[in-house]
Amino acid sequence: MTVAEKFQSIQDAAQAHVAAQESRTRIRVGVALCGHAAGAFAVLDALRGEAASRGLDAAVQEVGCIGFCYAEPLVDVQAPGGPRVFYRNVTPQQVPTILDAVASGRWQDAGEVLGTLGEGSVDSIARIEDGDQWRLQARIATRNCGSVDPGDIREYIAAGGYAGLAKSLSDMTQEELIEEIKSSGLRGRGGAAFPTGVKWGFLQGSNRPNKYVLVNCEEGDPGAYNDKGLIESDPHTVVEGTIIAGRATGANYGYIFIRHGHDGPIDRAKEAILQAYEQGLLGEDILGSGFSFDMEVALTGDSYVAGEETALMEAIEGKRSMPRFRPPFPAQAGVWGNPSNINNVKTLAYVPEVVRLGGEWFSEIGYERSKGTAILCLTGDVNYPGMYEVPFGLTLGQVVNDIAGGVASGGAVKLLQTGGPLGGVLGPDSLEITLDYELMSQAGAILGSGGIIVASEDVCAVDLAWNMVAFCQYESCGKCFPCRLGMTHLLDTLERIASNAGRAADLDLMRTIGKTMGMGSLCGHGQLGFNPISSSLRHFEEDFRVHLEEGRCPTGSCTARFHRPTRTSPTAVAGWYVEEGAGTTPKA
């Protein structure tokens, strides 16, 4: 059998399985992190219990995040042949009412309905597709999120999954594959926006026996959960993208790198890898193509800097996640000295569709040199916090107002915090900025990982800056002293200002520290660690002035309670100390 024939038989089996499901009523519950936090597991249990006790012929399924985090727990019910009807903010108590309404066909009676999704209409309920929140999106990487069961590879395959891999293995050479990615214009979504095809090309030249593809799901940026969201909701698009990257670069091994403790994404990723092995889509001689690729999940401890590419390699090797000097670059000497290609989760999640539909198709979406979409997490003081995938070219204002519904507490937007703590803040005029890497960086903004936190005029810029600086101080890995000491000095100074005990010279002092950190730090953490303060000063120096000169917080939001986490304290590691009389050499 050829590769294509082998894949066809896998696809046929998957489609037959899914088709058999479609003759039953399907009830889907979103149980990704947002759903979980909103109580979705209790709703899921109630649904399973009630469906069983009624002897209902319905499939109750777990799905991931469709992006409407504000409406969680979201339950959608789909009668055979009908559209999906979404009930929002569902409680376990509401479950019997929903099942009654479904049985009687009076769908509207059961609680707050978000709308329907899919062909057809039911009980004159509004279609989600007709609202701005959906129309303004272009769901490519998140196409299956909230729709397929992330624990069943057959649903992914039936939705067109792994066709890109099959194509890459049967019809395309390595060169053609890299050309396809280059022509798509896909750029890295981990922060630096480096062209993905070019990066892949760096590994191609090397004929070392072991080469690695590293999938970066460290996602330390607070305020962003799209990497975890993707892995939880549709892990196979990431697994497939990784295998294709392996094929293109000639790598033979992949690691998905996730922070310990995020059990949802970790379990989904592990399960997805196992299922891909079972289907013969991972391992030896994939689909009879002669290409072999293995994959596993690697965990890190709590460390933000572990997301930096060279620190990540240290952590995979089991060490402290401290950045390495470059050169050598990862493509020359990465994990265990072997050539390594590192990509963000989102970057790889696009790859299957780019290969399946072609680079040209992808390059027509987006704006100028920013091709495709941005996957944004909109949170903070907005009406509709959520995870939205939008084409480049929209303005931040469209995103904040038309999609996320504007400020929830009333009043105007004061600031946006984008790109994680190192990205700093933007002022209200930023709503006019176009989502585009070049235009955003001209405006002093960083898209970064796609987190956008919205704050209203009730918030003091000093207060938010404190939170970001405290984070950067806590997360400095300590390797470069300008970062380790500088962040601590910045935090001290900022806490002084926030509690109205600042000194006239403090702003200049902070600028001096920030400049030194920028010059003397090895990785972006120290280089950009002053951004939270410099950007806050750029847009909101007045807030600092009021604290310094008038001895008060301009908005009253600075609590001057500086609760923040502490790193491992010396007394916590008492076991390390040598006991009296035990000798003076450290334990070997």
């Binding site: 992190l33 607070p222 305020g223 401890g301």
Partner: protein, 164 residues
């Protein structure tokens, strides 16, 4: 726990790691999953199995703040301290939890029932402010909800809990 039983659990955690790549860090994480903390015996075991010095293992263990070196409380409360939760009132929520637990920062209650940690982002920012109790997330956490949650854990005392 008898020393032998503890060491047996450690050895099992280290040797039964399912993934192909086993390192100092992966071993420490496996032990933490098993015990909830890293005893001296764990340091010794990892050092000898990875052929590195105990110093090397301590270096890794003390670097990542998720590792602890004494048994944790029976229940684990984490309060998110990230920027979204900060804007939505995390500092006030923290004080509420401090008061309820009789703590003034991260740490363990005197009776060993509850450990409090701050988390830099629990990943459910769309539901801010977020707290977690024994790894169950609670979003849009109001002061009252947090009071009730802590009261529930205190009432459970040393029963139940997050350890496997």
């Amino acid at each position: 726990m008898a020393d032998d039983a503890l060491r047996a659990r450690i050895v099992r955690a280290v040797t039964e790691q399912p993934q192909p790549t086993v390192t100092v860090l992966s071993s420490l994480l496996a032990i933490e999953d098993e015990l909830g903390w890293i005893p001296q015996e764990a340091i010794e075991e990892v050092a000898s199995r990875q052929s590195v010095t105990q110093n090397d293992v301590w270096a890794v263990a003390s670097f990542y703040p998720n590792f602890r070196f004494s048994p944790p409380g029976t229940h684990m409360v984490e309060v998110c301290w990230g920027p979204t939760c900060h804007l939505m009132g995390a500092q006030r929520l923290l004080e509420r939890v401090h008061d309820a637990l009789g703590l003034d920062g991260e740490g363990d209650t005197a009776d060993g029932a509850v450990t409090l940690r701050y988390n830099t982002c629990l990943g459910a920012c769309g539901q801010a402010p977020v707290v977690s109790a024994d790894h169950h997330l609670l979003g849009r956490a109001s002061a009252e909800a947090v009071d009730a949650l802590v009261a529930g854990l205190r009432a459970a005392g040393r029963n139940g809990g997050h350890q496997r």
